[in-house]
Amino acid sequence: MGSDQPIPAGLSRAQLHELYYFMRLTRSLEEKLVNLYRQTKVIGGLFRSLGQEADAVGSAYALDRSKGDILSPLIRNLGSMLVQGATPVEVLRQYMAKAESPTRGRELNIHFNDLQRGFIGQISHLGDMVPVMAGITLSFQMRREPRVGLVYVGDGAMSTGAFHEGMNFAAVQKLPLVVIAENNGYAYSTPLDRQTAVKFLVEKAAGYGVPGEQADGNDVIAVYQVTRKAVERARSGGGVTLIELLTYRRKGHAEHDNQSYVPPGELEEWARNDPIDRYVARLTEAGWAEPAELAAIDARIASELDAAVSACENEPLPEPLSSLDEVLAEPPRAELEWYRRLDA
């Protein structure tokens, strides 16, 4: 269209559509998982990122997969993993504890990794991934590789000692690391003002001697822009940046959580600030996407997800004895021997 507005942040029209694809894919995949959860096919809790898709997708999109950048997601960063190449069928297998799941039924939900594609598996102990990502980016620095790491923390993880230790060390070493602080209002049921005495998480950057940035986490282009700047800074030897993304967790901690602690009106207010709705409006108003193009993306996602579910829904669970292998590179096999001795 002749009246199209210029596209910001050096993005192309195709990239704008790709951002939409990943945000919508995240939400639709989670909706599929809710259906499976209600059919009791999900093993373990189900963690939603409803309303946070822009922060995960926009920030991950600022990395360069062709350069070997690596990110470390948290439980509400499914979108970031999809950007790095994780597939819906992997996520579905994980949630259903299938034998063919990336962790072979060993560790739940989106706690899985592929360093080749550029995402590492988190553990439940919040904050630990910050020192681990310090080590990964230290390896980039030692090998003089122009690669960047990105680690997500939340308002809860930032209270941990591990966060502090890793952040401080990464700052001292000037490691190529971008730290995304997702301020989504709650850590489980605990609101921000019970978690920290600062008004905004970005204020903590000063304590580490690193630059702090803040952006609207529900504006995918703003998230991309602020992260891209930090990624370029890291890649050129400028060290760590702390970015606070202001967003909101619209579902409970997990599917079982009834959110009784949320003040009236808050959920409705944030539903009006939905990152996908906002993005769709912007794309169409600016002339960057036709409604028909977006509808075609939606249809593509629906068929991809249907295919993914039917590919793995009836797969078997892991064989019990497979639980004993790969504790060590060369196992002493003692566990297996104990088991066989009792079984005999």
Binding site: G166, L328, A329
Partner: protein
């Protein structure tokens, strides 16, 4: 052959691995310019550069977590805990992150966490600990504890070459007290998971490791001289995985077993060894398995108190006499 101390042997082993493999690097508190609190890495920064001998903030979780991340990427980091007592600060990331990485995520984590353990130096409750039992319960880790200069060298080299995370507990009392002639130019590697017979004997077996090896050997000499007892002493060297075959063989040889460790009794490694003997060789025992360990108290520093709390040669002699008479 030159005579080297336990500490020099450890230092030489570490330096040899850094020289032969550029993926090996060291990180810890004061390990760089200062050369470490006990000078294990003295001269390393000059020789290998500040990038491979990294002074860190006082932050054990950061040290271990950083090492894990670098290990995933193909490096072989060696973390120094300034005193091994401070490994407890990194307990969570070691047991939850590092130890599970291969199993849950297929992430190789070849790294070593080493540091000075043990008492008999009037160091008090926070500079004398033996933390092996706290980690014995964690699948995915290996634990070694050398007693001799040869094994100080052979086990640090084996630990660095191992593809899994290894905790290397060196004993600070032995650092400069133990000396041994080690051949130059010969590669010394002590296989992880293999015990060693330190003294042969027919009447009973002492299973032990680290500094307690020397007290056990002294007790064995006393018993031979004063009681005519022939006491075997087995240096386990690796505590995880335990050398079940060597333990069972000792039980079958002498039918009487004393386990000696410096750590406190309750929940100590001796309990696990005893359980294994019960399961694997109960019918070979002529007496209950006996333990000589520290009393169940935080370690006090006053000489009279520390000497009473920690196992002494006399305690081991008494334990052996009880076993022999049973």
């Amino acid at each position: 052959m030159p005579e080297v101390t336990y500490l020099e042997a450890l230092r030489d082993g570490l330096a040899e691995e850094m020289a032969r493999d550029e993926r090996v690097f060291v990180l810890g508190e004061d390990v760089g310019a200062y050369g470490g609190a006990f000078k294990v890495t003295e001269g390393f920064q000059r020789r290998f550069g500040a990038e491979r001998v990294i002074d860190t903030p006082i932050a054990e979780t950061a040290i271990v977590g950083t090492a894990a991340g670098a290990a995933h990427m193909g490096f072989r980091p060696v973390c120094e805990m300034q005193f091994i007592d401070f490994i407890s600060c990194a307990y969570s990331i070691l047991t939850n992150y590092v130890a599970t990485a291969r199993y849950r995520a297929g992430l190789p984590t070849p790294m070593v966490v080493r540091g000075p353990a043990g008492g008999y130096v009037r160091g008090g409750p926070f500079h004398s600990q033996n933390p092996e039992a706290a980690f014995l319960h964690t699948p995915g880790l290996k634990i070694v504890a050398p007693a001799t200069a040869r094994d100080a060298k052979g086990l640090i080299k084996a630990a660095i070459r191992d593809d899994d995370p290894v905790l290397y507990f060196e004993h600070k009392y032995l650092y400069r007290r133990i000396k041994e002639e080690l051949p130059e130019g010969e590669e010394i590697l002590t296989p992880i998971g293999q015990a060693r017979t330190a003294r042969e004997g027919r009447d009973l077996s002492i299973l032990t490791w680290s500094a307690m090896l020397w007290k056990s050997l002294e007790a064995a000499e006393t018993l031979e001289r004063e009681d005519g007892l022939s006491v075997e002493v087995i240096d386990l060297r690796t505590l995880l995985p335990l050398d079940d075959a060597a333990i069972v063989a000792a039980v079958k040889r002498t039918n009487r077993v004393l386990i000696v460790h410096e750590d406190t009794r309750t929940g100590g490694v001796a309990g696990e060894i005893t359980a294994r003997i019960n399961e694997l060789a109960f019918e070979w025992l002529d007496a209950p398995v006996k333990r000589i360990c520290a009393h169940d108290v935080p370690l006090p520093y006053a000489p009279t108190l520390e000497d009473f709390v920690l196992p002494q040669v006399g305690d081991i002699v008494k334990g052996c006499r009880w076993l022999a008479a049973y």
